[in-house]
């Protein structure tokens, strides 16, 4: 491993751990097609009404091995939807990282992930002791009824870049820019793009040829690569891209697109598969088109610290009507009360941090932190991180709440009273579709609350507590 910028010349950084996630909701493309009078089949993994790129980013990063040494967080997403605010800051706070962490957001193109990795490599090369968390997440909404709607799903991939070996090594990121607008947000929040075929067959080829011609290191890596993979919306387009760089090498199987692509996170999804299933020492190239083209070269590590979602996980079917409503493609006004920037800032320990308090005098734990202890009236209260696991004390699935409580994102909503492990109670909504019974083990998970006031408010929900790999809470 050399030192210096990760650009075309030098390798620098280790990919300590990688995790990729797909949202749990499923869009039945047969139902979508029938709605539009067409025939179609298949399934897409899509965000539900309570998810977005930031919540997926949290879910992915939560599955990495250890974030205690992270000093920089880079959130990559192709577009920044209305009302988003500083997504990287929300991500860092929800992960419990210290306020001294630097945050960046890379956006504007489908190759935001590879660009972010390149940046992370440069940071690590400049300071060999630093750890950078890179997360790519794509929740782009494609226009209802369009062909893109039937191919583009959602997903997120988190990568811990730093000095420690593990999943793999970042060998280089070589790229060329070409400001063909590949991804932009319409005023109505729908993601538009120039067309994958246009990008893959017109924009990409001359740049790929130029990269190979001008970059000896890339030529060398291409010569000893075990596989080359195109991060496109379909396996066929992906193969077209890959062959333009190096013909005849194997690519990830088409099963990678079984639940649709993951938009800008497709490159991350492919990376995780390579590092999780490849043989140690293999070199792989990933072609990521965008406003121009990036080629990412990695070497497979020891196969550890790679999280891939289980292939047989059944997702919850999301009715197409619910999907249209939650993506704002029906006439719905969000009448949620405005969360002003002032109250959002002041309440952040309770909302993003889920911080309660323990009374020093009587040890009672209360959420949110009260001015005085409700049990003994004591004023000496110490903060308690209420995130984590607990038991459902009672619950109800409410079918009218969305009509009477503006800002409740969907109907029905299941509300759960949780007795937290370690003391204290929470009253939280369950993730969409989950109805815990009394006594069920649950755990907290960050989700999108609502978009009242025109910007995104995040809050916690509960999901089933399982044995799936999760980073331990601090």
């Amino acid at each position: 491993m050399g030192s210096g910028p990760v650009g075309a010349d030098v390798t620098a950084a280790e990919l300590t751990s990688v995790a990729t996630v797909r949202p749990a909701r499923r869009l039945d493309l047969g139902e979508v097609s029938r709605f539009w009078g067409r025939d179609g089949r298949g399934t897409l993994a899509v965000v539900g009404p309570d998810e977005d790129a930031v919540t997926m980013a949290v879910a992915a990063a939560d599955r990495l091995s250890d974030l205690t040494e992270v000093t920089t967080v880079i959130l990559a997403r192709p577009t920044v939807p209305p009302g988003s605010g500083d997504g990287a800051a929300v991500l860092a706070t929800a992960l419990g990282l210290p306020a001294t962490v630097r945050t960046f957001e890379v956006t504007g193109s489908d190759r935001c992930f590879t660009t972010a990795l390149s940046l992370a490599g440069d940071i690590v090369a400049a300071d060999g002791s630093t750890h950078v968390l890179v997360v790519v997440a794509d929740d782009s909404v494609r226009e209802a009824g369009s062909a893109a709607e039937s191919t583009h799903g959602h997903g997120a991939t988190a990568v811990l870049v730093g000095p420690n070996s593990g999943a793999g090594t970042l060998l280089c990121v070589a790229g060329r820019l070409d400001p063909a607008p590949d991804a932009w947000q319409r005023p109505d929040g729908v993601r538009a793009n120039a067309g994958d075929r246009f990008l893959a067959t017109a924009v990409a080829p001359p740049h790929l040829q130029a990269l190979v011609a001008d970059d000896p290191r890339l030529r060398d890596l291409a010569g000893r690569a075990t596989g080359v993979h195109g991060a496109a919306s379909t396996p066929k387009l992906g193969a077209t891209l890959a062959n333009q760089l190096v013909a005849g090498l194997p690519s990830v199987g088409s099963d990678a697109w079984e639940l649709g692509d993951a938009g800008a996170a497709t490159a991350g999804m492919i990376l995780a598969r390579i590092l999780g299933r490849g043989q140690s020492g293999e070199v792989h190239l990933i072609v990521a088109p965008g406003s121009g083209i990036d080629v990412l070269a990695v070497e497979v590590g020891d196969g550890s610290s790679v999280y891939l979602p289980a292939a047989d996980v059944e997702g919850e079917r999301l009715p197409y009507g619910t999907y249209l409503r939650s993506t704002g493609q029906t006439v719905v006004t969000d009448a949620a009360p405005t969360t002003s920037p002032v109250t959002m800032w002041r309440d952040q320990p309770a909302t993003l941090g889920l911080q309660g308090a323990r009374c020093v005098g009587c040890t009672r734990v209360t959420y949110p932190e009260p001015p005085v202890c409700g049990a003994c009236g004591g004023h000496d209260l110490q903060p308690v991180d209420m995130r984590g696991s607990g038991v459902a004390v009672t619950a109800t699935t409410d079918h009218i709440v969305a009509g009477v409580n503006p800002g409740t994102p969907e109907s029905p909503t299941t509300m759960v009273v949780v007795e937290r492990d370690g003391g204290g109670r929470l009253f939280l909504p369950a993730i969409h579709g989950y109805q815990p019974s009394v006594g069920a083990r649950v755990r907290t998970v960050l989700r999108l609350a609502h978009r009242g006031g025109g910007f995104r408010n995040y809050y916690w929900r509960v999901e089933p507590s399982t044995a799936a790999t999760r980073r331990k809470q601090p």
Binding site: T351, G374, D398, N405, G407, P409, M415, R425, P429, G452
Partner: protein, 385 residues
């Protein structure tokens, strides 16, 4: 106060509009109608009123106490607006009663009004909670948490809730002022759509418009041709707005109801077994079941059995909600507590509109409100022989 309240505050007159959909009547119209009936019942004119209290929960008037003053002509008199979740009306009565008991006034007017139909007909809108932490909460959802716990703890099915709904619909069908005047069957109750599990449509009271009024005063001012009814005990307890978040809260009882009722029993010098008729806060069927236990009518966990055995019917050992309760009579929030006193007074004077409880001499009204049953008010009324 406890020493000066009992037997010293009489209900001189009562009035109540029909509860229901009053799209064509404003809050002022309803208040005027209810108060006029109360004046006539007391054989007094508005000039006799020295002070007033208005119970109204939703802030849609922006007029404070003047909403009552202007409706009945109390300009120049001290009039206050009271708000305390579903205990609003009872709390307004409490203020009026304390004013009489203290000797500050001889005759006061207490009224409650609500215009829920102005807000749409999905349910009571949530207005004041935190814009992120408070999302996902509704009135039926809050009480459904207790229903889930109650049925799970005692191993019961939702049929124990259906019995309450059928009984109260039966009672309301005979009351000319009730919002819902139709009988239902157990099968209809069981087949109704879910509102907030496990509560179904008929487990929930309707959203209603309506007003009610009572005139309180010194007992010697009471109309002579009928028995005088006086306040014997009055309790109000206010707990935290989130009791269900207290460790150990089991959702099987409401501490506020127990505290308020115990205070009222103590003041009145009576026990639960002495109560001949009660109007309790059955905003949802589960609320009535748990309230029977909290009021001490039956042991913990046996409220469902008391109901199933028919003891809470008009001809039973503990008649509960002979008017139909909130379930069938309706629940204009600020008016309900006042309406309950209206009903119990008429029961004690043998002039009940609907189901007359025979030989009723001691009555009780109960309200509980707020998330997790944060607040409760109880009034005990007795007939003077």
């Amino acid at each position: 106060m406890s020493g000066r309240l009992r037997d010293n505050v009489a209900v001189l007159g009562v009035g109540c509009t029909p509860f229901g959909d009053h799209f064509d009547r404003s809050a002022a119209d309803l208040l005027s109608a209810a108060c006029t009936e109360a004046f006539d019942d007391a054989e007094l004119s508005v000039d006799a009123i020295e002070a007033g209290w208005l119970g109204s929960y939703f802030p849609h008037s922006g007029l404070a106490g003047t909403q009552l003053s202007d409706a009945v002509g109390l300009a120049g008199k001290p009039v206050s607006r009271v708000e305390n979740y579903c205990v609003t009306g009872t709390d307004a009565i409490r203020h009026g009663a304390m004013a009489i008991a203290s000797g500050m006034y001889d005759v006061v007017l207490v009224a409650g009004v609500e215009k829920l139909k102005e807000h749409g007909d999905v349910g009571i809108p949530d207005q004041g909670d935190h814009p992120v932490i408070g999302r996902g909460r509704s009135a039926p959802g809050g009480f459904a948490l207790s229903a889930t716990a109650y049925l799970d703890t005692y191993g019961l099915g939702t049929d124990v809730l259906d019995v309450v709904a059928v009984k109260n619909h039966d009672n309301g069908a005979d009351h000319p002022n009730a919002h819902l005047r139709r009988r239902i069957s157990l099968e209809q109750a069981a087949a109704a759509p879910v509102v907030s599990s496990p509560l179904r449509l008929f487990d929930c009271c309707p959203t209603s418009d309506g007003a009610s009024a009572v005139i309180l005063g010194r007992p010697e001012l009471a109309v002579g041709q009928r028995p005088t009814v006086t306040i014997q005990g009055l309790g109000l307890a206010s707990f935290t707005a989130a009791p269900y978040l207290a460790p150990g809260f089991d959702f099987l009882s409401w501490p506020a109801t127990m505290a308020a009722s115990q205070a009222a029993y103590r003041q009145a010098g009576v026990s639960p077994d002495d109560i001949d008729v009660s109007e309790v806060h059955d905003c949802f069927t589960i609320t009535e079941l748990i309230t029977l236990e909290d009021l001490g009518f039956v042991d913990r966990g046996q409220g469902w059995r008391l109901t199933a055995d028919g003891a809470t019917r008009v001809d039973g050992a503990h008649p509960v909600n002979p008017s139909g309760g909130l379930k069938a009579f309706g629940h204009p929030v600020g008016a309900s507590g006042v309406r309950m006193v209206y009903e119990v007074v008429r029961q004690l004077q043998d002039r009940a509109h609907g189901r007359q409880v025979p030989e009723a001499r001691l009555g009780l009204t109960h309200n509980v409100g707020g998330p997790g049953g944060a607040i409760s008010g109880v009034v005990i009324l007795g007939r003077q022989e």
